[in-house]
């Protein structure tokens, strides 16, 4: 006995407004204003280490890690419509590849970055090709990505060559070295390098969206049947989006590894890593260029704000002192509130208002 009907896909949702939370996108404009905005953001961002106190730089770098993951997730799930629950897989592949090469063979993390991105792309395209080949959609696709990330976590946890649950610790050099992607703890260089990576990722997003590939990917997301009827090779464009997404996410993993100088299976492949990528993007605005950045600026400092609050809690809440979990509880509440009340995210909602005027 069973109680199931055929799976529902998003395309059948009749309510147009609700049906398209991931589709806020500007019409093609003749003037490439996105590049201007990107330049302004990068210049303003580059000045940040001169303004921010050194103690806050760690938060600034975390914003960049979150932004990279959000931008990566957004290309696949926001623009491409392939809902991923397992971006931890690509984040982890990136950081573990770089960590393994660095710790075992002393290879520079810059090379590790490139190799990690390549490995992540191969893994992502391989698993996604299988998933699309066998027509996994919606919830089934999400579950396959989730399972893939969990599989990697379990595999790494049980693998001697990858130090099981101990993970990799980046060997500390006597002095900063650009060639080895390692600087003093308070150095603004981590931030600047991260900023360049975010800049490249955003540039990739913009170029992708303006290109034929991007347009076809959006067409395939909005109506796969119609797109393939028009002769678009849907599989190819989907896999392109997946590959770009995985590469960007893997780069976030390497930045994380070099900044925190430590990685273990949970930090790399844990479900919370995927959640961070999703929450960042959904809060900022999925399916928009700037949404993930906005989301990262809001979500990444949150746990520090909460930690600061817990160190000196007000009288009535003093029982919370010394307990973990409040930051993630807030994440969860924010996520649920955004999904129900502002499904287009902060940037998406503002942009929609501006466009209507």
């Amino acid at each position: 006995m069973s109680v199931t009907t055929p799976t529902r896909t998003s395309k059948q949702a009749p309510d147009a407004d609700l049906a398209t939370p991931f589709l806020t996108l500007a019409p093609r404009r003749p003037f490439p204003y996105e590049y201007v905005i990107l330049t302004v953001i990068l210049i303003a961002g580059a000045a940040l280490p001169f303004i921010l106190p050194a103690a806050e730089m760690a938060i600034a770098v975390r914003v960049l890690v979150f932004a990279l993951m959000g931008i990566g997730w957004n290309i696949m799930s926001g623009f491409g419509g392939m809902f991923s629950f397992g971006h931890a897989a690509y984040f982890g592949i990136g950081s573990y590849t770089a960590g393994f090469m660095l710790v075992e063979f002393g290879v520079s993390p810059w090379i590790g970055l490139v190799v990690g991105m390549v490995v992540a792309v191969i893994a992502a395209v391989g698993i996604s090709y299988l998933a699309f080949r066998y027509k996994l959609e919606g919830a089934y696709y999400a579950m396959s990505t989730f399972a893939f990330a969990e599989m990697l976590r379990l595999f790494v946890s049980g693998n001697d060559a990858l130090h099981r649950t101990v993970g990799f610790t980046v060997p500390v050099l006597p002095e900063s070295s650009f060639a080895m992607f390692q600087f003093d703890a308070g150095s603004p260089l981590y931030f600047w390098i991260g900023l360049v990576m975010v800049g490249i990722a955003l540039l990739t997003s913009i170029v992708f969206l303006r290109s034929r590939t991007g347009r076809f990917t959006l067409a395939a997301r909005d109506n796969e049947m119609a797109a393939s009827a028009l002769g678009i090779n849907v599989l190819r464009y989907k896999l392109t989006a997946v590959a770009i997404s995985a590469a960007i996410t893997a780069s976030a993993g390497v930045l994380y590894l070099q900044f925190y100088m430590f990685i273990d299976p949970d930090l790399a492949f844990g479900a919370h890593v995927s959640n961070n990528a999703i929450i960042t993007t959904v809060v900022g605005g999925a399916g928009t260029i700037w949404g993930p950045l906005v989301g990262a600026i809001i979500m990444a400092p949150l746990s520090d704000v909460v930690a600061g609050f817990l160190r000196n809690p007000p009288e009535q809440l003093s029982f919370l002192a010394g307990h973990g979990g409040l930051d993630l509880l807030l994440y969860a509440v924010i996520l649920i509130a955004f999904v129900i009340l502002l499904p287009k995210g902060i940037y998406g909602t503002i942009w929609n208002k501006v466009k209507k005027k």
Binding site: L18, A19, L335
Partner: protein
């Protein structure tokens, strides 16, 4: 009156009978294949481990653990079948029920299974609340929306537990919980009780869906929401009820597994994963399928641990999961109909 009911019964009987035969053929085929594969794997595991005692222990443990997996998957599959929502919070709900059980036992000092009186209604209320407040408003939105809400819910529950109870693991003692010999293996009594509990739960859910008016309404909504609405069924009400029943199943599972679980905020996460696998194996939305799926997963895990020692036993389960997702995404056992 008898003349009235007689012809109707005759009219209805043949199609039902025909469908049963077709279903059972397909299920038999798949079951035979599965049993053959499991037997081969079991023999291989026996050769690798080189000991029949180890193999027997693995098989018995596998079946019992499998029963627990299907118990936890029960709510998941019911909610998917009717609402088409994958409840990512299912594991967190089990964890919440574990803590409820712990609290009931430590406050009232009663037998752990008596906590069912509290956990089932509390979880049912929570489920109803979640569906009514969070999920009903977004039922027509794309599937990501509901997934995100349930994952947010999972995060919220787990971290609320962490906030209130802290990270240190707790435990619940079952009086008289000793190891007993079963077919040459030794197993704790509490695991046997949980296994029996999962069988009872499958039967109860099956009876509820098949033999009651509410169950018929639920199945009607699952099969055709628009049609159900046209004949006067309150769809949103059925959604609320279904989620409540699903959450209650998670609550019952939590209490039944409490005596042999490490009670900590993330206790449910691991069951979340296995429950997905069970549901996919059993056919999403298929309640008895969840039982078969659970047994397969339990056996895969135990035999996988024998064949690949040193690796996490769940790895074999995930490999099987991905293969099944790709090859037969609509479930191995029975058809989703």
């Amino acid at each position: 009156m008898t003349t009235n009911t007689q012809p109707r019964a005759e009219l209805e009987a043949p199609p039902v009978a025909r469908r049963r035969i077709r279903l059972s053929r397909e299920m038999t085929k798949t079951l035979v294949v599965t049993v053959v594969i499991l037997t081969i794997v079991a023999v291989a595991a026996g050769i690798v481990s080189g000991s029949t005692t180890v193999l027997t222990q693995a098989l018995v443990t596998g079946v019992l653990t499998g029963g627990i997996y299907s118990l936890i998957a029960m709510g998941l599959t019911l909610i998917y079948g009717v609402l088409h929502i994958i409840n990512f919070a299912n594991g967190a709900m089990v964890a919440l029920s574990l803590y409820l059980t712990y609290e009931v036992v430590s406050i009232f000092g009663v037998h752990p299974y008596l906590a069912l009186v509290i956990t089932i209604p509390v979880m049912m209320g929570l489920g109803a609340l979640v569906q009514a407040v969070l999920l009903n408003p977004v039922m027509r939105a794309p599937i990501h929306t509901q997934l995100l809400i349930t994952i947010g819910l999972a995060l919220a529950i787990e971290n609320l537990l962490l906030l209130v109870f802290g990270p240190n693991p707790l435990s619940v003692q079952l009086p008289g919980n000793t190891g007993v010999p079963v077919l040459g293996a030794t197993v704790e009594l509490s695991r046997i009780y949980a296994f029996i509990g999962s069988l009872v739960l499958v039967a109860a859910l099956w009876l509820l869906l098949k033999r009651t008016a509410i169950g018929t309404a639920i199945r009607a909504v699952a099969a055709n929401p628009e049609g159900a609405r046209l004949v006067g069924i309150n769809i949103k009400g059925i959604y609320i009820l279904t989620f409540a029943i699903g959450a209650a199943a998670a609550g019952a599972a939590g209490t039944l597994i409490a005596p042999f679980s490490t009670i900590q905020p993330t206790a449910g996460a691991i069951f979340n994963l296995t429950a997905f696998v069970v549901v996919v194996l059993g056919g999403m939305g298929n309640v008895p399928g969840a039982l078969v799926g659970g047994l397969v997963v339990g056996l895969t895990e135990q035999l996988g641990a024998l064949i690949f020692p040193g690796q996490s036993p769940l790895l074999a389960v995930f490999v099987v999961f991905l293969i099944v997702l790709f090859v037969k995404p609509k479930g191995v056992f029975g058809r989703a109909s």
